[in-house]
């Protein structure tokens, strides 16, 4: 069975490399600063012993004050997994870096989040709507969408 790595241990390893990246560590996830997202993701993917070579899913939650993005990373090689979280602020044009350059599987998921939550991903090769049609007004999964 896949083991869940302790977020504290993972956070410790991240902090050794990127001192300011980790904002908070909870029982279930590591919360990181969105500026460091791409660096931290690349670090987690390439560091021997971690090697998260598979992105299970990305999802987004609307907390009104901020949007939280949750990345579940899995290592097929070591059969372990960890949850990575990041936050982006502002409702007009929230932006986070795209991780498509690391995991191709992020492509459609990021487009779906853009479509339904309105978070744009910087560096995404094809940032446009996927489920709804072009020209649809608003982003339906936001809490203030009526």
């Amino acid at each position: 069975m896949t083991t869940t790595l302790s977020p504290g241990d993972v956070a410790k390893q991240i902090s050794q490399r990127y001192a300011d990246a980790v904002i908070e560590t909870t029982d279930t996830a590591v919360l990181i600063n969105s500026q460091f997202l791409l660096d931290v993701a690349a670090f987690l993917k390439d560091t021997p012993g971690l090697e998260f070579d598979y992105l299970t899913h990305i999802t987004a939650v609307d907390y009104f004050e901020y949007f939280e993005l949750i990345y579940q990373l899995t290592s097929i090689k070591h059969n372990h997994t960890v949850l990575l979280k990041t936050r982006c602020y502002g409702r007009e044009n929230p932006t986070v870096p795209s991780v498509v350059s690391l995991w191709q599987g992020a492509n459609h998921q990021e487009r779906e989040i853009y479509d339904l939550m309105g978070i744009s991903f910087e560096g995404h090769p094809n940032m446009k709507r996927i489920v709804l049609w072009d020209g649809f007004q608003g982003h339906p999964l936001r809490k203030d969408y009526l």
């Binding site: 446009k128 489920v131 709804l132 049609w133 072009d134 969408y145």
Partner: protein
């Protein structure tokens, strides 16, 4: 002689998105009111073509006894439809054992499932491609009115917004028996048709 191009082919990705958006918006704005039962408005169109002999009884018999349904399965009602088609309920008893994948060979569209606005232009196009005479059965709550998804931003509130529906089969999903009853009702409707 120059042949007029029926359809412009689009190769650009962004252009495709823009055109799709236009098509959906146009269909959405034109689909405000449900379309009435075809029997109510079809008469006026074909009144001058009326034929009241025993021939129409024979033709109607032929039509109702070989309804070929079209594959139109946007969602979960499809499984009840598949159940109805398979040996246990055996829809083939009514002369409709052949499911057509091509709309040009089908007479009956059974709309088994929720329809989204993104999919709506395609269903409309499939309906337009079916040869006359054609019939539509709205199967399940979603097909009739949008069902539990009616107030959603992306769901068509009933197939009758975009295509005329002949028979409504309620249920979520309807049992195969209900669908078979709906098809029997449609066959009765065809049998009573006075115009060809």
């Amino acid at each position: 002689m120059e042949v007029a191009r029926v359809r412009e082919y689009i190769y650009s990705d962004t252009e495709l998105d823009r055109v799709e958006s236009e098509v959906i918006e146009e269909l959405k704005s034109s689909a405000v009111q449900p379309i009435a039962d075809p029997d109510e408005w079809l008469d006026e169109v074909v009144k001058r073509n009326i034929l009241t002999t025993t021939v129409d009884a024979v033709i109607n018999w032929g039509r109702r006894s070989s309804l070929w349904p079209l594959l139109c399965f946007p969602a979960c009602c499809a499984f009840e439809f598949i159940g109805a088609m398979s040996p246990r309920f055996d829809l083939a008893r009514y002369g409709m054992e052949i499911l057509r994948a091509s709309p040009r060979q089908a007479d009956l569209m059974i709309t088994a499932g929720t329809l989204t606005w993104k999919m709506a232009p395609n269903v409309r196009r499939i309906y337009d491609q079916m040869a006359e005479p054609k019939w539509v059965i709205a199967m399940g709550a979603c097909g009739i009115s949008g069902g539990i998804f009616r107030s959603s931003y992306n769901v068509v509130p009933g197939y009758n917004r975009i295509i005329p529906v002949d028979v409504y089969v309620p249920g979520c999903p309807p049992r195969p028996e209900a669908l078979i009853y709906g098809i029997r009702m449609l066959q009765d409707k065809i049998a009573n048709r006075r115009n060809i």
